[in-house]
């Protein structure tokens, strides 16, 4: 984005932080606020926010004269009329020659498979229309999904159709052939026969696939001196090493959040990232749901440096520098009676009354409490968490351990170091890189980029011809997970067979195919490899065919979850010396909430998905606290030079309320150079300053202002609160005393000029439970996939033209430095008396007999009056031709049941009317009414926390009716009397009275 353009759009106003802090402290500021700009409420911000879209959103410009306007109007009228004169083009129908048994044209099929992240499987159901996978949903039978799917899993279907995927074998920069590669590889392997493969290294990502591990094992038998190494930049090394420290062996930790009354997160984001997070989020939300004012709920304490979704859900959040979490853990361990050395004193904003109160609460709930350590925390913190859980008697109750889900658990940072050392010493002749992207994401000081070209024969199997492929002799296109056979384990060990939905679009090879080639079984179908492996494993199964069919159908292999394992805490934890006190500013590396380690960089859905707390799109930032920003004289969007570990990188600053002071968070996964057309050049590569020594947390960061500015596309300032209480929050105590607090100020039967409409049949509505929503963004991607919503790009987001039908607003409450954070998903309210309907001159938005606020694209002429009149700002306008009408591979992705919108058309949430109609038709054919829960909109389906519930509000027994009956139920902007069908359940906090009292005192 050029500066001048930004200037035209009105630069974001500058904010005087010290004045703000004073205002919030003295209670002059509003209770809830969405951004620093809003809190400051500068005249510039008011002007910026007054218009629905910032200046410059109108392409015609401000200096349009009357004559010009009339000309343009006449032309559009003429063109609009002319488009009505087209004849339907001649079409062809191409039936099958031999129709596959199960395919019924017009009816989707669903296949159970799994997608993996960090090797760990999430079970999914993939919707397939005539052989085209179009949508990924969670598999309700899978323990790690329970029917929900995260943004990554859902967006992987876009990755399948990505036109930038590698489509051919590449040899030294030129198109190669599979046959030539086979012969070269054979020669290279032959040369290694003598030495037993001493010069061979296979580098993979984390592998939980038993059949792939067996293939690797077979290869290592043939070449006993060869080495198999695993590396991912978002590694779970600290989790593994922490287990080793605590128990003397690698184990896998499984939490039973539904049994925990008090949970402490030590810099962990267990509600939105990591193995099992979907299940944990669901169990957590269930424990938070209160039936009425007498209900009980769990309590979450979070200690964290970087604001994360888990901290936003916490009843008490303690801002602590990431490097001080160990000290906190040690102090807590001592409080619960463990003999460990005390860490250095905690310097940052730390309230001394917090710890004893927390310890008392945990001890009071022995056996029903849970301590979870974050994946970016050092091994010692994990060991401490195990020890504390042990001391509280939580093992076997709220937490248990099993054997590792990884087939070959290893320290991946040591592995990549070993590889680099091997190459440096000239010991690596054949390097086979299966997946991963070490040239981009290996620790910067290893110099992998320089080392890779020195390997004699290097091969890369990858989805994209990326940074690593460019440095290898051979690049082989990889088959996408939806194109290949395989298997993987879930967070608890449950096996899912990965089955293909489609033949490889670009002739890609799966890891199984590749290893078959290495094992001299070239061309052996990977289906046979996987099936034969499991047939051998399940030789006791009397009818393997039936077992196999059932496993494929269900998406889970029965009885493969690992049983709990008996472990004892190793003595000697107390002798572990505490880490030294951090000196200077710390730097914390985190996985990016939407890019992960950068593998999703070319995925437009994930690039444009606003990050849960910053609401940033298409970019990454160096995040720091208001206080630190003030001290360094920085403000959001300032470019700074980050100097760490002898390297430096330029990054934009983002001032984040709630961030720990003297700490800077950076996120991996951006700054890709060979990601593809979507991902190239977005953001900066934080991995460039990430050394081998400190994978996650380091101290001694130097920050220098460069004087440049960096425009960031955040979606948070496009609309403001204007002092209204859109999000309603109370504590459990307040709720008990005043069950109707959420409905305060609501008129019981407000008068309306509109005549009441009676709904005889169905009447659709939705309830959104703010108490459950973690703000993860899964619903946003689900909606995008289901409804063919276009990606618009950073430039358009900057002018407020993002197209998402559901947005998740993030509100802050309280002080600038340490606010409470709340999420609120906002979709079309389907108002009973909808303001949009009355202003449409062409009746393109009307009410249905079932209460839906319908949007008719082919009637819409694009006046945007409806959007102007919508108080909730949920209507989205196609300012340009955002939908891709040209790229052939993307046609396959589209949901055939939803129109692809063109330029000049308004669109918005329809409650997934295509799903409503499909279910209604089936019910009608069976001569019955639609059952409750039969219609599930995409957002509800994907939600791990079950925050959204859709149904028939005419049926008093439906789930949604019962939720709307609750005293926590309220409508947004009730005073406007639009009578929304989407209503909200107020958020409840369950603070520890000891801490809360001390805070207010």
């Amino acid at each position: 984005m050029e500066d001048n353009e930004r200037a035209r759009n009105g630069a974001r106003p500058e904010v005087a932080l010290s004045a703000l802090r004073k205002a919030t402290a003295q209670g002059q500021a509003p209770r809830f606020w969405r951004s620093l700009d809003e809190l400051a409420s500068t005249p510039e911000f008011q002007a910026h926010a007054e218009n629905e879209f910032p200046h410059g959103a109108n392409d015609l410009g401000a200096n349009l004269d009357r004559r010009e306007l009339l000309k343009v109007m006449a032309a559009s009228a003429a063109f609009a009329g002319l488009t009505g004169c087209t004849k339907l083009p001649a079409q062809q129908i191409v039936p099958y020659v031999r129709q596959p048994e199960q395919i019924i044209p017009g009816k989707p099929l669903f296949y159970a498979t799994a997608v993996t992240l960090g090797g760990v499987a999430t079970g999914v159901l993939v919707e397939s229309h005539m052989g085209r996978p179009t949508k990924i949903e969670g598999n309700p039978d899978h323990p790690g999904s329970l029917g929900a799917a995260d943004a990554f899993a859902q967006a992987s279907v876009l990755g399948l159709y990505d036109p930038d995927r590698s489509q051919a074998e590449v040899h030294d920069g030129r198109i190669g052939s599979w046959a030539k590669f086979q012969s070269e590889l054979a020669a290279a392997l032959d040369a290694q026969k003598q030495s037993g493969g001493a010069g061979i290294r296979i580098l993979t990502q984390t592998i939980t696939s038993p059949s792939l591990a067996a293939q690797l094992g077979k290869f290592l038998q043939a070449y006993p001196s060869a080495k198999w190494l695993q590396y991912e930049s978002i590694t779970r090394d600290t989790v593994r090493e922490g287990a080793k420290l605590a128990f003397g062996e690698y184990v896998n930790t499984v939490y039973r959040v539904e049994r925990a009354e008090v949970i402490l997160s030590l810099d962990s984001d267990f509600l939105s990232t990591g193995p099992g997070s979907l299940r944990y989020a669901r169990e957590f939300a269930r424990k938070r749901r209160v039936e009425d004012s007498q209900g009980k709920m769990n309590r979450l304490y979070a200690v964290e440096a970087t604001p994360m979704p888990t901290g936003a859900m916490a009843d008490h959040r303690l801002r602590l520098r990431a490097s001080e979490v160990e000290s906190f853990g040690r102090a807590l361990a001592r409080q619960v009676g463990l003999n460990v050395a005390a860490g250095p004193a905690i310097a940052s904003s730390y309230r001394s009354d917090w710890l004893p109160a927390l310890a008392r609460d945990l001890k009071l709930n022995s056996g029903a409490s849970l301590v979870i350590a974050g994946e970016q925390q050092p091994a010692m913190v994990h060991a401490l968490a195990h020890a504390i859980n042990g001391a509280l008697g939580n093992f076997g109750k709220t937490v248990y351990v099993t054997q590792p889900v990884e087939e070959f658990p290893a320290n991946q940072w040591e592995s990549i170091n070993e590889l680099a050392a091997g190459i440096r010493a000239g010991n690596v002749d054949v390097l086979l890189i299966l997946g991963g992207n070490p040239a981009y994401d290996a620790p910067a000081d290893l110099g992998i980029r320089e080392l890779l070209p020195t390997v004699k024969f290097s091969v890369r199997l990858g989805l994209y011809e990326d940074e690593t492929s460019a440095l290898c002799h051979w690049h082989i296109p990889q088959a996408h997970a939806l194109e290949s056979w395989g298997d993987a384990r879930a967070y608890d060990g449950t096996v899912t067979i990965i089955q293909p939905l489609i033949e490889p679009l670009y002739g890609g090879k799966s890891e199984h195919d590749f290893l078959a080639l290495l094992n001299g079984q070239a061309g052996k179908p990977s289906h046979d490899i996987v099936r034969e492996f499991w047939q051998a494993q399940k030789s006791a199964e009397p009818r393997f065919d039936a077992f196999w069919e059932k496993t494929l159908r269900d998406g889970v292999m029965s009885d493969t979850a690992f049983p709990p394992k008996q472990v004892t805490l190793k003595p000697g934890l107390g002798e572990q010396a505490p880490a030294p006190a951090p000196a200077g500013i710390e730097i914390v590396f985190r996985p990016d909430p939407t890019m992960w380690d950068g593998r999703f960089a070319n995925n437009g859905w994930l690039q444009e998905l606003p990050k849960p707390l910053t609401k940033l799109t298409w970019d990454t930032v160096a995040m720091l606290s208001p206080k630190t920003a003030e001290r360094l004289g920085l403000k959001s969007e300032d470019a700074v030079e980050l100097k760490y570990s002898g390297r430096s990188i330029e990054a934009p600053v983002w001032v984040m309320p709630g961030h720990a002071d003297e700490s800077v968070s950076v996120f991996l996964g951006y700054g890709r150079t060979r990601a593809g057309r979507v991902g190239n050049g977005a953001g900066f590569d934080a991995g460039w300053v990430r050394p081998l020594a400190t994978p996650w947390i380091g101290t001694g960061l130097a920050i220098q202002k460069t004087g440049k500015r960096w425009w960031l596309a955040a979606t948070q300032t496009h609309s403001t609160m204007e002092g209204r209480d859109l999000v309603r929050v109370g504590t459990l105590d307040e709720y008990r005393k005043n069950p109707n607090f959420a409905q305060a100020g609501a008129e019981k039967n407000p008068l309306s000029l509109y005549p009441p409409v009676k709904y005889d049949g169905y009447s659709w509505g939705m309830a959104v439970d703010l108490n459950a929503c973690t703000g993860c963004g899964a619903c946003v991607v689900a909606c995008q996939a289901e409804n063919n919503i276009a990606v618009v790009g950073k430039r358009e987001v900057l002018v407020g033209r993002e197209m998402h039908w559901i947005r998740i607003d993030r509100y802050f409450e309280g002080s600038l430095d340490d606010p409470n954070t709340y999420h609120e998903p906002v979709l079309c309210m389907h108002c009973e008396d909808a303001p949009c309907e009355v202003v449409c001159p062409v009746a393109a938005t009307v009410h249905s007999p079932e209460g839906l606020n319908e949007m008719i694209y082919n009637r819409c002429v694009g006046t945007r009056y409806c959007s102007n009149n919508c108080p909730y700002k949920v209507r989205r306008f196609n300012f340009r031709l955002y939908s891709d009408w040209e790229t052939p591979s993307l046609f396959g992705l589209r949901n055939p049941n939803v129109s692809v919108r063109s330029r000049g058309v308004m669109e918005k949430c329809t409650y997934c009317v295509q799903r409503i109609n499909a279910v209604k038709i089936e019910a009608e054919k069976q001569d019955r009414t639609v059952r409750d829960g039969e219609i599930v909109p995409a957002c509800q389906q994907s939600c791990p926390a079950e925050a959204l519930v859709f149904g028939n509000i005419n049926d008093p027994n439906s789930r949604v009716s019962k939720l709307k009956e609750k005293d926590l139920n309220y409508s947004l902007l009730e005073e406007l009397n639009t009578r929304p069908r989407t209503t909200y359940l107020a958020r409840l906090r369950n603070p520890n009275p000891e801490i809360e009292k001390a805070a207010s005192a």
Partner: protein, 216 residues
């Protein structure tokens, strides 16, 4: 002062004002007429097909059921087009050497599908579902015309939205008992209105005229 304009100017002004109005109306009428011609609607125009398949022969004379080929009409939005295999079920035995059927045999032999020309087409923003119409007693020939008399298939009705709405507003004029839906020579009885009204009740037929019933 002398008049600037001659008296006749009044007439000219009137004629041009009313004339223009009339012209616009006429133009509108003309557009409407053109839109109803077969040139635009393609109704009653037989479409050339790669194989001259005759519904008249197969349905009218041999008495094949619609569902023998259009198998998914009761289950799905799409009625389904028969795979080559369906043709070959018979034509590997009868007329097995006929020259006319060579494209069919070639398709089966080479596993290359036959590309038929679509006769009944709806715009992409219309979501029509066959199965629910069948279930509610809408006969095949109500929309597809006298298929059993078509040597080469043509479009039986305009498939315009107003034509859809004719029935959606007054289904009792068109409905048949479910047992008669697939009858190619079905003639509505004289008491259609009474029958239709009974069927509307019995089949719980709704008069869906809201937009998202078809557009989404």
């Amino acid at each position: 002062m002398a008049q600037i304009f001659h008296r006749s100017t009044n007439t000219i002004a009137r004629v041009s004002i009313y004339g223009t109005l009339l012209l616009v109306l006429l133009l509108g009428y003309a557009v409407d007429v053109v839109n109803k011609t077969a040139y635009v609607t393609e109704v009653n125009i037989a479409r050339p097909q790669p194989v001259p398949f005759s519904h008249k022969h197969h349905v009218g004379e041999l008495g094949l059921d619609c569902r023998y080929c259009h198998t998914s009409v009761e289950e799905s939005s799409s009625a389904g087009m028969p795979p080559t295999q369906t043709c070959m079920a018979c034509h590997s035995q009868i007329w097995a050497q006929a020259e006319m059927l060579e494209p069919v045999r070639a398709s089966y032999r080479d596993s290359k599908p036959i590309a038929w020309t679509r006769v009944n087409a709806l715009p992409d923003f219309v979501y029509f579902n066959h199965s629910i119409h069948i279930a509610k007693g809408v006969g095949c020939t109500t929309c597809h015309g006298p298929v059993a008399q078509m040597n080469i298939t043509w479009r039986g009705e305009t498939l315009y939205m107003r034509w859809c709405l004719d029935c959606h507003n007054a289904p009792e004029q068109y409905l048949r008992p479910r047992s008669e839906v697939f009858k190619p020579f079905y003639e509505p009885p004289r008491n259609q209105l009474a029958l239709g009204q009974r069927l509307v009740k019995e089949y719980k037929v709704q008069r869906l005229t809201n937009c998202t019933a078809c557009h989404r």
